[in-house]
């Protein structure tokens, strides 16, 4: 679980933070409502999860709320038996 959490957190930092961006991101940091990931760029996060865990996340489940923090993402992934 901890490994999964960190893999997602690492991806978010690498994919969305600019080099000079010194914002701290934790498991609960609001990503979309906090302006770190815009809903448009969320697509690459969805693709990362689908590829890494060999799942298909239907659009209806890929909501801004479901992707709004690392913890929310983990909760969503549980539905796909990714733990």
């Amino acid at each position: 679980m901890a490994e999964l959490k960190d893999a997602i957190l690492d991806y978010v930092k690498k994919e969305y933070l600019e080099e000079d961006d010194d914002r701290e991101i934790s498991y609960d940091t609001p990503l979309i409502s906090g302006g770190i990931v815009d809903s448009f760029s969320m697509v690459s996060l969805k693709r990362f999860l689908e590829t890494k865990y060999a799942i298909q996340i239907p659009d209806a489940k890929a909501t801004p709320e479901a992707f709004d923090s690392v913890n929310n993402i983990l909760k969503m992934l549980e539905e796909f038996n990714v733990r």
Partner: protein, 415 residues
């Protein structure tokens, strides 16, 4: 009556939420033609006030230029007011073809198709040229109209960090298998005023066999030595596969836009782009005015040269006064204030000083990046810029932000 009190209440609540979030937009009423000086009623109903306009997209000062107005009037006399048709039924006049041909020549492309606006061009172009075997890879700071257009298209979507060529290259490698890979960027980014690294983007496109799309709305007419746009500035004329741009900014400022680029891609838009197929043709009066604009800027670089001088003066003046601006070379010059409320208060005080400029904050720009975006025009004379500079300095002194660092401003006013 379906629109009963309960339904009305839903919308009243939503509007109330927008107001309390402090992002309710209000129109300022202008009671004069667009120019470097305008008569403004703000708030609506207040006495008219003559102010210097520092926030129009009227980069070349052609919005109310007598030659353009006269050409528009001639168009009205000779080709009428409206066409009551889309382009392909009975909405294409000789002057529409003339304008498409002039734009092709000016932009250095193979062909051009007009749209009612650049918003429409961006809404229609991706769906017309790409399908689900393709991928669109866009810069994260592209204009909202591009985001909307990408959403309407079935191709895969991906994004790269703003102007980050390493990240773009990773994405091109990730999507190597796609039939068509389209790199999507603004030429000049409207909020920061920086330019896309089109030379490097074209280099990557050639390396990975991708196409390049550029929205040059904030560049056409004045960026580059002869004003062709960002592709001229970056030395890649003729290498951009799709350029979209607007007639609603430097090129006369009325309305209309276009897709210009590879012949086959433009033809695909004529066959399939929905805003072209299902929306009215641009009215003759606007087309005639735009034809005159293209004649003016093809004949002389005088206006873009003056804009360049104005921009250099303004950037230097603000910096020497001790304000923080976004570095760059375009006539979009953001004065950074970081705090949302400060940007609004600053703009209000400027208005009192006779300077019209608008503060932008989240969600229009990122949190903690609030600013006043100033835009230069060839219509500005030296006395306009002197007065505007004095006003920015006076208001900056009042808020005690002159010669202060970003950190100091944030410590005092917050993010």
């Amino acid at each position: 009556m379906a629109f009963n009190d309960s339904i009305r209440g839903i919308y009243q609540k939503e509007l109330g939420d927008i107001r309390s979030a402090g992002i309710f937009k209000e129109e300022r009423i202008i009671c004069s033609p667009q120019d470097s000086e305008i008569e403004v009623q703000f708030p609506a109903g207040a006495d008219e006030k003559r102010v210097i306009n520092m926030c129009a997209n009227n980069y070349l000062g052609l919005s109310s230029h007598p030659d353009v107005v006269e050409a528009a009037r001639r168009g009205l006399d000779h080709r009428g007011y409206g066409m009551s048709s889309v382009r392909f039924i009975c909405g294409t006049q000789d002057i529409h073809k003339e304008l498409e041909s002039k734009l092709t020549k000016f932009l250095g492309t193979e062909d051009t198709i007009l749209f009612p606006s650049c918003m429409d061009a961006n809404a229609g172009v991706f769906e017309a040229v790409l399908n689900d075997q393709d991928v669109m890879i866009s810069d994260r700071l592209v204009h909202a109209s591009i985001v909307d257009g990408m959403r309407l298209c079935k191709a895969q979507q991906d994004t790269f960090k703003h102007s980050d060529m390493g990240h773009l290259e990773e994405k091109l490698q990730l999507h190597a298998a796609a039939r068509v890979k389209l790199i999507i960027t603004d030429g000049s980014f409207s909020m920061d005023g920086d330019l896309a690294k089109l030379d490097q983007i074209v280099g990557l496109a050639e390396k990975y066999n991708a196409l390049v799309f550029v929205d040059d709305s904030h560049a056409s007419g004045f960026i580059g030595r002869t004003g062709r746009g960002t592709h001229e500035h970056c030395g890649v004329l003729g290498k951009i596969d799709i350029i979209t741009t607007t007639l609603g900014k430097a090129l006369g400022g009325a309305s209309g836009g276009c897709v210009s680029g590879r012949r086959e891609l433009v033809e695909m838009c004529r066959q399939k782009a929905r805003p072209y197929l299902f929306s009215n043709t641009i009215p003759p009066v606007v087309v005639s005015g735009a034809n005159a604009v293209l004649d003016i800027i093809s004949r002389t670089t005088e206006r873009r040269d003056k804009l360049e001088r104005n921009t250099a003066f303004w950037r230097k003046g603000l910096t020497e006064a001790g304000l923080i601006i976004k570095e760059g070379e375009t006539p979009i010059v953001p004065v950074m204030l970081f705090n949302a409320k400060l940007s609004q208060d600053f703009a209000k005080d400027l208005y009192q000083e006779g300077i019209y400029a608008v503060g932008f904050f989240f969600p229009v720009v990122a949190k903690g990046q609030a600013r006043i975006r100033t835009q230069l025009s060839a219509a500005h004379e030296q006395h306009h810029l002197d007065k505007a500079l004095a006003a920015f300095t006076k208001v900056g002194r009042k808020f005690e932000i002159l010669h202060k660092s970003k950190q100091e401003i944030i410590e005092r006013y917050g993010m």
